[in-house]
């Protein structure tokens, strides 16, 4: 790392620390305000619902500031709030943050402000009334320009304090929040259950959508072909009675229709679970996918053993969906699919050298990928800067 880079980095840390200490000071101020209704509630139980509501609100502000998961569903009844172990921890945080947090915030901000106050002292000290011409600490009285330069040096000292000391103060100020406002193990489990319930619903939803798609494909595709075959055969029989020479043409059409029905049936079956996936392996299935993609695709999929069928099917359809997107939208000249397995996760990465700028939330293809992956507790990350390259990475837990 070059010196310039190190300086820039340290400056960034300092600026961020000042920001944090300032916002921390703000929440400590809010915490101080909430202390009053809490105090009233101790004497006057009727005021408790209001006080506890404020407590949770200010705790949630702090949680958001610290980037903690809220984890606490909004409580409606007083009994539920007071019975909640989280409430006790919130009260402890409130007292700490309103006092210690407040002073740290004030101290940290003063240091930052004094960079300017003392740093510029040599420039303005003559305009200050003689009795007030002191550095920020209020002592000693400055009478000479040289003395003023020394105060300016103190400003530089504050700058170093801001860069190196204030970040530590931020940590200290945020410690009670990080310790006490983090969801406890039980609440974390509650969150996890809520999340599982949601993904399970998504899984069932994806399942229903899938069934609907299959039903459509069979009714509107295959069945229509077979009806056409039946109609044409009926017409051929009538033709045989009337003028046998015209029957052959109709029968040829009937045969075409039946072949179409077979082709469509094959496509439907393949879309449910590709035979190559069940008969061979995920690597082979993805290789055959890549072979049918109009964009040249390199495949690196060396997998030891097999995963659960549903996970492999998900990976396969995600790859299919992603390659369809590559072919349709990216304008790429080449793409690659990499599948690796590490312990109990399957990682699938599809990259193309196309124009990028894909919208992670738009586009049904990506939504489909996300939904399929989330149904299996997986995650999807996409990066697609304008100008490319676009990368879609899907991580699926696959058990052992």
């Amino acid at each position: 790392m070059s010196v310039a880079e190190a300086v820039r980095r340290r400056l960034r840390i300092g600026i961020e620390a000042v920001e944090r200490v300032a916002t921390g000071w703000y929440t400590s101020f809010l915490a101080g305000l909430v202390c009053w209704p809490m105090l009233v509630a101790v004497v006057l139980p009727r005021a408790a619902p209001f006080a506890l509501g404020r407590l949770r609100a200010v705790a949630d502000v702090e949680r958001r500031r610290l980037g903690l998961r809220s984890g606490m569903p909004p409580q409606t009844s007083l009994r539920a709030v007071t019975g909640d172990p989280a409430t006790g921890r919130e009260v402890r945080w409130l007292l700490l943050h309103a006092t210690v947090g407040f002073f740290i915030g004030m101290f940290g901000l003063t240091i930052a402000v004094d960079i300017v106050r003392d740093g510029l002292f040599p420039l303005y000290w003559r305009f200050v009334p003689a009795a007030d011409a002191t550095p920020a600490i209020g002592w000693p009285l400055i009478r000479t320009q040289n003395g003023a330069w020394l105060v300016g040096l103190m400003g530089v000292g504050y700058l170093f304090a801001t860069l190196y000391l204030v970040p530590l103060m931020v940590r200290l100020q945020e410690l009670p929040g990080r310790r006490l406002l983090r969801p406890g193990p039980g609440e974390d489990m509650a969150m996890r259950i809520a999340e599982l319930t949601a993904t399970r619903a998504a899984a069932l939803d994806a399942h229903a959508v899938e069934l609907r798609r299959i039903e459509r494909a069979l009714h509107d595709g295959t069945q229509n072909r077979l009806v056409a075959v039946s109609v044409l055969l009926g017409a051929a029989r009538r033709a045989v009675q009337r003028d046998p020479s015209t029957a052959d043409d109709i029968l040829a059409r009937a045969q075409d229709a039946s072949e179409l029905a077979l082709a469509e049936l094959r496509a439907v079956v393949r879309s449910i679970l590709p035979p190559v996936l069940t008969d061979r392996s995920l690597s082979d299935a993805i290789a055959s996918l890549a072979a049918t993609c109009p964009v040249p695709v390199t495949v690196d999929a060396d997998l030891p053993g097999r995963c659960a069928a549903s996970v492999e099917a998900t990976a396969y359809f995600v790859a299919a969906e992603a390659l369809t997107n590559v072919a349709k939208h990216s304008g790429a000249s080449r793409a690659s699919v990499v599948v690796t397995r590490q312990a109990d996760t399957l990682r699938l990465t599809v990259t193309d050298d196309g124009r990028g700028g894909a919208d992670a939330d738009g586009g049904t293809g990506l939504t489909g990928i996300r939904r399929r992956a989330e149904a299996h507790d997986g995650t999807v990350t996409m990066t697609s800067p304008v100008g490319g390259p676009t990368t879609v990475e899907v991580i699926l837990p696959c058990g052992l």
Binding site: D220, A228, G234
Partner: protein, 218 residues
């Protein structure tokens, strides 16, 4: 007979047109969506429209809506709705505005050309055609303690054919009995179900359908 076809599946649409033209019927327009279908109905004022239930854009019940709309615009037009599967709700929606000149059939029946042509003629002639599957659904959905229990097996057969829209002569032919016997059965059915007897086929179908629907709902 001038015919307009609305079917979004190209192969089936052309197959139907080929079949009907080979039978000497006049297919004046083939369309693949409700909008062009209604435009063709306005333009050609056909005798009968053959409509697929599932059409773009959503592939759900566009055909039913289009059929109802076509009949609203041109009350004289006969409509035969074709469906990949029978859904009693579709039939109910279709037959709420009376059952004359109206048919609802499974697509697969089209292959039986004679029966299909028979249905087509019946509908154009002012009658009703309801797929036996729909009738079977209605009959099986009725509860065991209903008045239908009072019917003899033969009377149930007659009731089913009546609900499909067949006239007395056709019922007699299907069941290998005389016209008089059918007449007697029908009178007996109507009195057992406490319906007022009616000899006009489509009104009779409406009464029977209405009765069966109520039974199924109960």
């Amino acid at each position: 007979m001038r015919i307009v076809i609305a079917e979004d599946d190209a192969l089936l649409r052309e197959g139907l047109a080929l079949l009907l033209r080979a039978e000497g019927l006049d297919v004046v327009a083939t369309t693949d969506n409700p909008v062009t279908f209604l435009a063709a109905v306005d333009k050609h004022t056909p005798d009968v429209a053959i409509v697929d239930v599932r059409m773009p854009p959503t592939h759900t019940d566009e055909g039913i809506q289009a059929a109802v709309e076509a009949r609203r615009r041109q009350p004289g037009i006969a409509v035969l709705v074709l469906s990949a599967y029978v859904e009693q709700a579709f039939a109910t929606e279709l037959f709420t505005q009376g059952s004359g000149k109206l048919g609802y059939m499974l697509k697969e029946r089209v292959g039986r050309i004679e029966e299909f042509l028979d249905v087509l003629h019946r509908v154009v002639g002012g009658g009703t055609a309801i797929d036996p599957e729909v009738v079977a659904q209605l009959l099986t959905r009725t509860r065991p303690d209903s008045r239908l229990e009072r019917l003899s097996p033969r009377e149930r057969d007659v009731l089913a054919l009546m609900a499909e829209g067949l006239g007395n002569a056709a019922i007699a032919e299907k069941l290998f009995v005389t016209d008089g016997a059918v007449h007697k059965h029908i009178r007996s059915i109507f009195s057992k179900l406490e319906l007022s007897p009616d000899d006009q086929t489509d009104r009779r179908v409406a009464a029977v359908l209405h009765y069966l629907r109520d039974e199924a709902k109960r």
